[in-house]
Subunit: 472 residues, 2 copies
């Protein structure tokens, strides 16, 4: 990918080392006094992280002011430095013509990422302003699912017909050097008559081979490739197994349609795992930043909390059903939250192990029984140890009152640990099989089921031990 | 990085498409009949993921049999395909001489990763068998902290003195082509007399520039670089802001000491976030796979569960203290687990948002007050909504008995939601400030504090509302 350099060195100001600039305050001030050259200097001068932080603090109006005041070239530099989310927010604030000018220096995959985040109307308006070839590539790339080889590939690659000579290829590279500046040239792809992939030539072999031979004599035949429909986990496995920095992408007719870079795949995996982490944390309604208004953030979090409170009430209904038992043995109320928390923790551990094994390919989604068995063994061991520990504590605390309470609480925790790890270990595999996110397993549903079972075990057993009430 | 190709095409057998091979069963069978050529075919033929899965299922004895029977060349191929964990397990099973032969084709950073996972004695024995230059590089790289530029960099790079001509550089590249095969050549670095970094020449500029000029006329001056001590988050920001595939690494004397590739950084970030996810899931004692024996996995999980049960007992002590209140209003027992779970969820959401903002650089570790304020606003809103909802449910369920119970439960949840998000949002920043893992915030400590507070609010308020007991 190309880098858009700052236009001149003079624009840079140096900050004495160690002197910390408060980027958000500085940007605020520059916008307030509407200092154009100061703002440009800010954009070219701040590290990307500081710039992202400062821009995330702006109000919608300030953001619009910033991007509209900056010349397109400086805006292009800014858009390259920021994350896709922040960059597309900025694009939405300017005229389609300026937006097109700002995305023009980017490679087609980056253009596609940015433009496809906009509303359809805005995207269409920008595409109409873009160079028609570029617009065609963006539309083509946007037609693929995001996390597939097609959706991640770039359209900037170099392909030559296999009948050309090494010299012809090198001459073409020299002649079009300035155009190819924006290409990430490491491999040159060799194609047959109708575009089908025949081989790969490493750039270094071009440097090292003098010129009259046919290019296909120095190409690597039967090159590895990925297919445009390959999903993220296939791509991950591919790049794990190969040390290539990029791979050609072919369509169903074996034609070369793009190039997917290792870095693009690594980045997509990183984003997917960061989303998974947010979801595990209970942030399900897309990405939240603290620059959003409080009510909108509250609403997003409620999307997770509101169903959760309902599920909690379902589990609590077991406790309500056995209220008479609690009335007679109030000590049980002390241990119910412990049962709930410990079972939840054991279940989440099993989910974490399953997710890791799925990610590393150490387990296949159809190996549910094997996983179940392996987890139950661990659950039995930990259930016995934890159950005994909690049982002894309960006996020590309330033995004088009800000698059997330790047994009841311990047995309930032991049994529920087995159930929790069995569910936690196997549900991620089942979710993966039906193409859902395995991280969903470590959520409120798991907790509800383990709560239900845990409360039931403890309270049912306790009721068994209680002598019948004397008739009124 | 180089790829070690299978030595000949004949070794490959093709599987009819769609016919699924059960890789673990096949490997098991091949080991049982001790079929050397079958095992070699298996290694060269299976996709990396299947091979990893099959090897993870082997017993220690089978693993040792496999790697000892394979010729070193095939073992080298295998080691390249597997993850560092699995590969270093295999290296530990063979003689130092064979291990050295197996790691020989790898670049120095991969050699270092593998060898530094072994015991000191084993590592030393392998280093003595290795080519002395390679061994020196491994020792040099191993002296850096793992997640720094020095720890992630490779020692294979091309550097030329600035006084050389373009032709001399190209001639050197041609002459040493076979040696440089194992280099990831995209940039050529230009150094001054004592090794200090002066500039960078892109390989494509070498291709495109004819030769008598001095190399420093076509180099990019003031090249971007990273310092050997830079940590992972600095490297992440660097590569986020730049589109380079690799960056030169310099030491405190500005001397070029290595090259760090974008892919190595992305991979290290991925590993760090996968470890963070495991820790959030409660797997703290290193990486667990289901091929480990059940008792050892149970023990590893207990490392997290055992302290957790103690913390749970601490929180439960509040409930024990107010047992007389529960005796009189048993309905409270129904709502305590709900309070505990809902507060935990709200707190974890705040942790997840803080971790994401820290990772993206949208918040700095010292912005605790700002984060606290932003979270408290969200906490107030959600606290009021959730508290009202739970309060109404409680009133509906038990209003006939104690009309005030809805108020007590609702107020406790509202107040505790504010506390949870305040802790959950700010503790990751504080942990980051003292260089600890912010993911630790979403753990048992958070839950214990929010449980303590939630139980206290509900039970203290309830006690206030209760009329004094008649004297015995």
């Amino acid at each position: 990918m190309p880098e858009t350099d700052p236009p001149s060195e003079e624009l840079k100001v140096s900050t004495p080392e160690g002197a910390e600039v408060d980027a958000p305050a500085l940007l605020d001030h520059l916008l307030e006094v509407n200092d154009l050259s100061g703002l440009q200097r800010f954009v070219y001068d701040q590290p990307a992280g500081e710039m992202a932080r400062a821009i995330s603090r702006l109000t919608d109006e300030e953001r619009s002011q910033l991007i509209n005041i900056l010349p397109a070239e400086c805006g292009a530099y800014l858009v390259e430095e920021l994350s896709v989310e922040q960059a597309s927010d900025l694009l939405a604030e300017v005229s389609p013509a300026k937006a097109a000018e700002m995305v023009d220096p980017l490679p087609s995959d980056a253009q596609t990422d940015l433009i496809s985040r906009l509303d359809d109307d805005e995207a269409e308006a920008i595409l109409r302003e873009l160079d028609p070839d570029d617009a065609y590539e963006v539309r083509r790339l946007a037609s693929y699912e995001p996390d597939t080889a097609g959706g991640l590939m770039a359209a900037e690659y170099l392909a030559f017909f296999q009948t050309m000579s090494v010299r012809e290829v090198v001459d073409d590279l020299r002649t079009n050097a300035s155009e190819y500046q924006e290409y990430d040239v490491q491999y040159v792809y060799i194609i047959g008559k109708s575009g089908e992939l025949r081989g790969v030539v490493r750039l270094r072999d071009l440097v090292l081979t003098p010129g009259d031979e046919r290019i296909d004599t120095i190409m690597i035949r039967n090159p590895t490739f990925v297919r445009d429909q390959d999903d993220l986990s296939t791509l991950e496995q591919f790049f794990d197994a190969q040390f290539f920095q990029a791979a050609p992408v072919i369509d169903e007719h074996e034609r070369l349609v793009g190039v997917v870079r290792r870095a693009a795949v690594e980045e997509a995996i990183g984003e997917a795992s960061s989303k998974a982490m947010l979801r595990i944390g209970g942030i399900i309604a897309g990405e939240e930043t603290r620059s959003m208004p409080a009510w909108s953030r509250a609403l997003r979090r409620l999307a997770f909390l509101a169903p959760n409170i309902v599920l909690n009430l379902v589990a609590a209904s077991v406790v309500a059903f056995y209220e008479p038992t609690i009335k007679r043995v109030t000590a049980l109320a002390i241990f119910l939250p412990i049962l709930s928390d410990m079972s939840g923790c054991s279940g989440n551990q099993a989910v974490a192990v399953s997710m890791r094994e799925l990610a590393l390919g150490l387990v296949k989604p159809n190996e549910v029984l094997r996983t179940l068995w392996k987890e139950v063994m661990v659950g039995l061991l930990n259930g016995m140890i934890l159950g005994t520990a909690l049982g002894l504590v309960a006996y020590a605390m309330r033995g004088e009152q009800f000698a059997w309470i330790g047994l009841v609480v311990g047995a309930a925790l032991a049994a529920n640990t087995v159930i929790s790890v069995a569910i936690g270990g196997s549900v991620p595999l089942l979710l993966k099989r039906i193409k859902m996110d395995p991280a969903m397993a470590s959520g409120p549903i798991l907790t509800t089921i383990t709560d239900l079972c845990g409360f039931f075990f403890a309270l049912y057993l306790a009721t068994l031990f209680l002598p019948p009430l004397p008739p009124d």
